[in-house]
Each structure stands twice: as C-alpha cells, then as structure tokens.
C-alpha cells in the first residue's frame, strides 16, 4: 500500500515550476553522524562508561545479583518514565503519577482486605489508575488547562484520596505466590521475572512513539500545537489518551510497588514523580517538548539506577546520591548551552577582528 501512495507519474504535481536551479537533496551523509552525537546518545555513552567502570572498580558490582536488585529498584521509575516521555514530548507534564500509584496501592489494600478475589483487585486497581488518568486528561485536553497546575492539584487530590481510602492502615497479607512472583528471578540471570512485562510496556511505548503515525503527531504537537492541528493531528484527543496511558501505567507501578514490598499503604511511592522527571530529562527529552527518545530515557533511568545502586553497594550515603542526581540533571542541560555560547562568542570575536581595519 505504501508503494502505491508513493507518488510517481500520475501525481498531480506541477511540472517543474520556475525555480532558478534544480536542487539536490543529500540524505544520508549526516544521519548516522547525527544519531551518534545526539543528546540521548550521550546518556547512553555515559551509562555504558559507568557500567564498565563500576564493574571493574566496585567489588561485586558485576554479578547477576546486581542485575536483579538494580532492576527491581528501577522498575517503578522505568514504567512511569514511558508515558512521561511521551507527555513531555508533547510539551506537557504529569506530576500526579506517584499519587496515582499511591491511590492504586491504597485501593488494592482495601479491596483485598475486604475479601475480594485478587485478580479482581488487580483489575479494579488498574481501572482506578485509568480513571485518574481520564480525570487529568479531561482537565488538560478537554478544558485546556495548563498541565503543570492541574497535575499539582491532582498530585494532592489523588494522594488525599489514597489517605481517605485506606487511612493510616497498611495491608500486608497478599497471597504469597503472587508476592513471591514479583521478586522472583529468571533462572540464574538475576533478571526479575516481571521485567518481561516491563519490557513489553517499554517496547509498546517505544514503537508507539517512534514508529507510528500517532508518535509522529506527538513530536509535531510538542513543537506547535496549531501547526499540528492543521495537518489533522487530534491534539486534544492524543493528549487525553496519553494521560489515560500515564494513569494506567502508574497504576501498574503502584501494583508492582505494593506486591514487591507486600505492603499496601497510602504513602507508597511518595515523591516518585520528581525521580521520574529527573530521569526522563537526563535521558535527553526536552522539557519544552518536541525532542526525545525512549532509548535515551531508558539509558537515563538506568544511569541513575545503577549509580544509585553502586553508591549503596559502596555504602556511600544517599546524601552523595541526591547531590549527584541534581548535578547530573543541571549539567545535562547546561553543558550544551555553555558549549554553544562559547562557540558563538568565539565566532563574534573572529568576525569583529576580521572586519575591523
């Protein structure tokens, strides 16, 4: 089908309207180079460099045990980072993700304690996340309210509802096989079994963003909502579904959290939103929208995660960790602009000098 739509002879294009010289459109020469030097590639290099360094110089880092614990630690951030990447690419933000995870956890606890079938509990919990996402989506996409303000509001609201739901109780007696499943590993690889599901989510979002018309539209929207509307991109509808996806995935993260720690509480995953956003931005997604990739974000999440784990393995205080996370975030945005500022300054000086008599 794609072949037939590629215009050939019968295309109704004007035959060579007047232009002064026929143009050439070189394609390939810059593509590979650009990919290799792109902002998200930097994060990937940093991740690889760090992993190599850590494996060599930190005792016990290079072992399947690391893989298992590290991945278990990053799974919630990894999950939520996926829809967050798409949302930030469209130029919006969702600060309520951690609260949705908390509300999901609280719901699970209350329903399970109330004697509901565990599968039904899981289904309802995901639905709660979807409903939260729809609420955000309605306010942002349908009413057109600024997402930053809306999700600050729902950050408080959803966390509040979690408190209302479960109060200060904690529910812990989830079925053993289920909680065991959530910490089980795939044979000797050390990779947690749930990573299979997480991988499915990552691939789904990666394909959605980079290989579908919908994803194309998101990049367009991120730069210019108006221009996107003129080419038939359903800006409001796309945003709405992104928030629903964000709600659903946050619910999955909430379920994972609850079952991994076998504890359903209202304060689960508090503050996770900032960790997610930090990882996403570190992965090269532009806070202004329009730029970013799933691969870069994946590297960003894993970079922070493995740094985290390496520091803990070396018994370095968390103090260092949060400071380093902050510095990484700042440097990842500041460094390029300092670079270009220096270039610009040099250029001006050169021009000045050459033109001055």
């Amino acid at each position: 089908m794609s072949e037939t739509t590629t215009p050939t002879s019968n295309a109704p294009a004007p035959e060579a309207p007047l232009t002064r010289s026929p143009s050439t459109t070189p394609w390939r020469k810059t593509r590979t180079a650009k990919l290799l030097a792109s902002r998200d590639a930097i994060t990937i290099y940093a991740l690889v460099a760090f992993l190599i360094y850590a494996s060599i110089s930190i005792p016990r880092f290079a072992s399947p045990v690391t893989t298992g614990f590290l991945l278990l630690d990053v799974i919630p951030v990894l999950l939520i980072a996926m829809p967050m990447t798409l949302i930030i690419i469209t130029g919006e933000i969702d600060l309520s993700v951690a609260s949705i995870a908390g509300l999901t956890s609280a719901t699970m606890g209350v329903l399970w304690a109330g004697g509901m079938n565990i599968w039904l509990v899981l289904a309802v919990s995901v639905l709660v996340g979807v409903a939260c996402g729809m609420f955000n989506g309605f306010l942002i996409a349908v009413l057109g309210l600024p997402s930053l303000a809306v999700t600050i509001g729902t950050l408080a609201l959803f966390r509040g509802l979690a408190l209302v739901t479960i109060g200060d109780n904690a529910v812990a007696n989830f079925p053993k096989p289920l909680t065991a499943f959530f910490t089980s590993k795939l044979g000797a690889t050390g990779i947690p079994t749930v990573m299979i599901g997480v991988l499915v989510v990552i691939i789904a979002f990666g394909v959605l963003l980079h290989f579908t018309p919908f994803g194309r539209g998101l990049f367009g929207m991120g730069y210019s909502k108006e221009a996107a509307a003129f080419v038939g991109i359903k800006v409001a509808r796309s945003k709405f579904w992104l928030y629903v996806a964000s709600g659903a995935v946050s619910a999955l993260a909430g379920i994972f959290w609850t079952l991994r720690y076998t504890s359903a509480r209202s304060d689960n995953a508090t503050g996770l939103e900032l960790a997610v956003i930090a990882a996403v931005l570190l992965g090269g997604v532009s806070i202004f929208g329009g730029k970013g990739s799933i691969l870069g974000v994946l590297a960003g999440v894993l970079l922070i995660g493995s740094l985290n784990y390496a520091l803990r393995l070396g018994r370095v205080s968390d103090v260092v960790l949060i400071t380093v996370t902050g510095l990484l975030l700042i440097l990842s945005v500041v460094a390029p602009s300092i670079g270009s500022a220096i270039r610009g300054w040099r250029h001006t000086r050169r021009v000045r000098r050459s033109t001055e008599p």
Partner: protein, 512 residues
Amino acid sequence: MQQTDSTRSGPLREEPALTLIHAAKTFGPVVALADGTIEILPGEIHALVGENGAGKSTLVKILAGLHRPDSGDFRVAGESVQFRSVGDSKEAKISVIYQEPTLFPDLSVAENIFIGRQPKGRFGLISRSAMVKEAARLFERLGVPIDPTRIAEGLSIADQQIIEIAKAISLDAKVLVMDEPTAALSGVEVDRLFAVARSLREKGTGILFISHRFEEVFELCDRITVMRDGRYIATHQTVDVTVEEIVKEMVGRDIGALFPKTEAEIGGVVLEVEQLSRAGVFKDISFQVRSGEIVALAGLVGAGRTEVARAVFGIDPYDAGAITFEGRRLKARDPQASITAGMGFVPEDRRKQGLVMELSVARNVTLTLRNKFTTAGLINGAAERRAAKHWSERLHVKTGSLEHPVSTLSGGNQQKVVLAKWLATEPRLLIIDEPTRGIDVGTKSEVHRLISELAGRGIAILMISSELPEVLGMADKVLVMREGQITAELNRADANPESIMHAATSTAGGTP
C-alpha cells in the same frame, strides 16, 4: 479616499535623521547583509523594498539595536552611533514597528504604550490614572476608539499597530520604522494608518516604510530604496520611477505577468457549505466550490473569512449548518476526516500554523501523510523518505538536506514546503489562506502560477485574500464577507474593485 500627494516637491536638503552606510552583518557562514545603506530625512516617508531575503529585516534589526553590524557607518542626526541594545536605539529616538506587533498580551493597552517609562505619581510609584489619561489623549489624537484600560490580548492586528504608533508618538520618535505594517490590514485600516503616517511626516518625523504592495508604496512614499541579495541597489524619488522599473531592480530581471490566470475546465461541485453559523463569528454561510474553480473569499480583515475556512476544514467548531464534500457530509471538528476526504489547508500563518518549524523538511512534508506510509500500523520509513524527496524535488524546495529543520529555509521555500505537504495528499480541494502574505514578488507569481495550474488539473481552490488585485486576477467567483456574513457573490465578470469594496464595507466610509 485620500489624495495621492506624493507629488510633493523633493524634501529640502537638510541633515538626515538617520544614515546607515555599507553596513554588513553575518551569522556564522550566512551573510545576512552585505551592504546595508539607507538615508532617512526628517519629514519624509521613505520606502524600503526588496524580495524576501534581500536583507530588509536585518537592516531593520540593526536600526532597532537588536543586531550590531559587523562593519559600516551608522549615524543618527549626524552623530556616529554604536547601538549595543534596543535601549540605545530608543534613546536615539528610533521607533520600530514590526510586522507582527510585539505587545504584551497580559498588560493593559496603556501600560503597553508606556512600559519602561510609566509616568510616576506619589512616592515615586507609577500613576495608573496619569498613564490611562495620557493614552486616551494619544488615541483621541489618532482618532481611534481603543479602551486604554483593557488588556492587549485579543486586539486586532490593526489596533495593535495603532498602539505601536501611539507608543512611537509618545516616545517623540524622530525616526519611525514600519516593517510591513499593512500586510494584515484591511483597506479602511490602511487608509487610517496612512493618514497617521502623513500627519507624522508633517511634524518632521522620518518614516521608513517597508511593504510588498507597490500601490501603497507609490501612494504614500517620497523616496524608494531598493535592496537585493543583501545589497543596496538604488534610491529613487517616487515621482521619477514606475512600478516596473522598481520590480526590475528588485528581482534583477523582468518577471512575467503577476497573475498568470489560465482557464480551467470547471466541473462538478466538490464542496458545498450550507447555512453554516457560529455565534458571534459568522452566520448563514452558504456556497459551493466546483472542481477546477478558484473561489475567492474577499472582505476586510476580521470579516470572518478565515474563521469560515477553519470551520469548513474542521479546526474550529460550528453551531449550525452542514458541510458536504463530494456528496458526503463531513464531520465537524475533525481535520483528519477532512484530509482523508481530500481537503488541504494552506494556513495564513506559515510559521505558526503551516509548518512545524523545528522539524525537518522531510518530516514536515510527510506530516500530512502519517497514516499513509504504514505497514500494520507502523511507519515505513523508506517509503516516507521517498515521498518527501519526491515532493520536495517536484516543488524545487531549496535546502541543503531534507534533514534540516524547516526554520533554516527562506520564506518562499517554506511556503513551498507547505504546498508540497498538501499536494502530497493529492487533494481535490485546497483552501489557501492569504497565499502570498509576506512573499516576495518573484515567488509571488510562482505561487499564483502554481494555483492556476492546480485548478487546471481539476483541483477546487478556495482562496482567502486581502489583496484585491490577487482576488480579481485569480478568482472565477468572488464571495465577499462582511461582519460574518456573505454580502455578495460575484462572477469573474462582475467583480471589480468597486463592487467588492462596496460589498465589503456596505456603508461607505464605515470607518469607526
């Protein structure tokens, strides 16, 4: 209408208000201005003309203090100056009004006029009442009814320009630079602007007037400076030259007829709009567009033409009425459905609506075709790139690489990308809003020829234009709108400037 008084005898040879000689400016490898030269006398209106990319904007930005020239001699009132900032330019009593006025939407009109130099009252604090009073006085002098206390958001471009002028007057500007001020104005508004400009000239202000509309240049200006490819070409007394001579200097060659209308075979109805209404915007709009036909929507800015087109395409909602495309009802508020049905829309604001400036040429071209190059829902990258290449070459888009962002292209080339994007969808109806806004003479006729050719291939064209010559030259049928309603439907034979202006304004001299 005003009398053309450009026959006024040559200005006295006095100290120029401003001179810029051999100014150059480069950005990296790009030479934006090779030789910027201009002289503005007090009490003259001086036109600066040139194609897009001729360096006019760079020159204006140098005058405004936004760019520092790499070299050249710059004098204001005889004194050599080096502007380091916009503030320096203002200090030198130079006021610049850009094509798109730069008002602060959240601030009040009065505050916009006086920002940075608000009158002070008690305790050294800003006196709001003095500010409002002063603004009201300025508007009275300009003869416009704008409420100084309202916020600037939502003002028409004409009003915004008036506010810019009021700002310039209150600044006591010696030189006023107007960069294409009339591009978005209706006839009445243009007249109002010209009256203001003339009265400023009488008071000794030197005005630099940039426009692509020759009839305006010749009506208003005393002298004309021509630029081409970043270089100064010549300065003429308006009375000494003709439009043809100026155009020749601008493009460096003769160009053909401006409106190369070719006869096309008019076929069946493609688009039928019935009783379309939206409260407060337009009412009972009904018309048809046939294949091969060019229908022009004429009228003043703000008459609701663009709004109708947006509703037809599905960008905006409508309250009542029906839109039928090739016999099938179109869904409201669904541009994707309109595109699938075979419609395209070239919007008036290329930078904001027509293109995603930061995306590559290729991505822009294929943005309309997102859903076509898919296999099992996934985008087929190779097919996409082939299509982008094909259409860019067809329209001769000049770019280093299809991977470059569209923002690196010139205005004319950008407009070609917009057209390429829509032609790639093989539309059967193309809505074109202000097809030649902000496009230089050379590309203008290229665009006109293209539109004619498209009609010749059987594509139905709905064109919105504020330029009467364009409407008269291109359209098979002219619909005139006023205050949200269609007030006349004229055939090509019946359409003339008088009939259109009459329908557009209805009550003669409807200037408020």
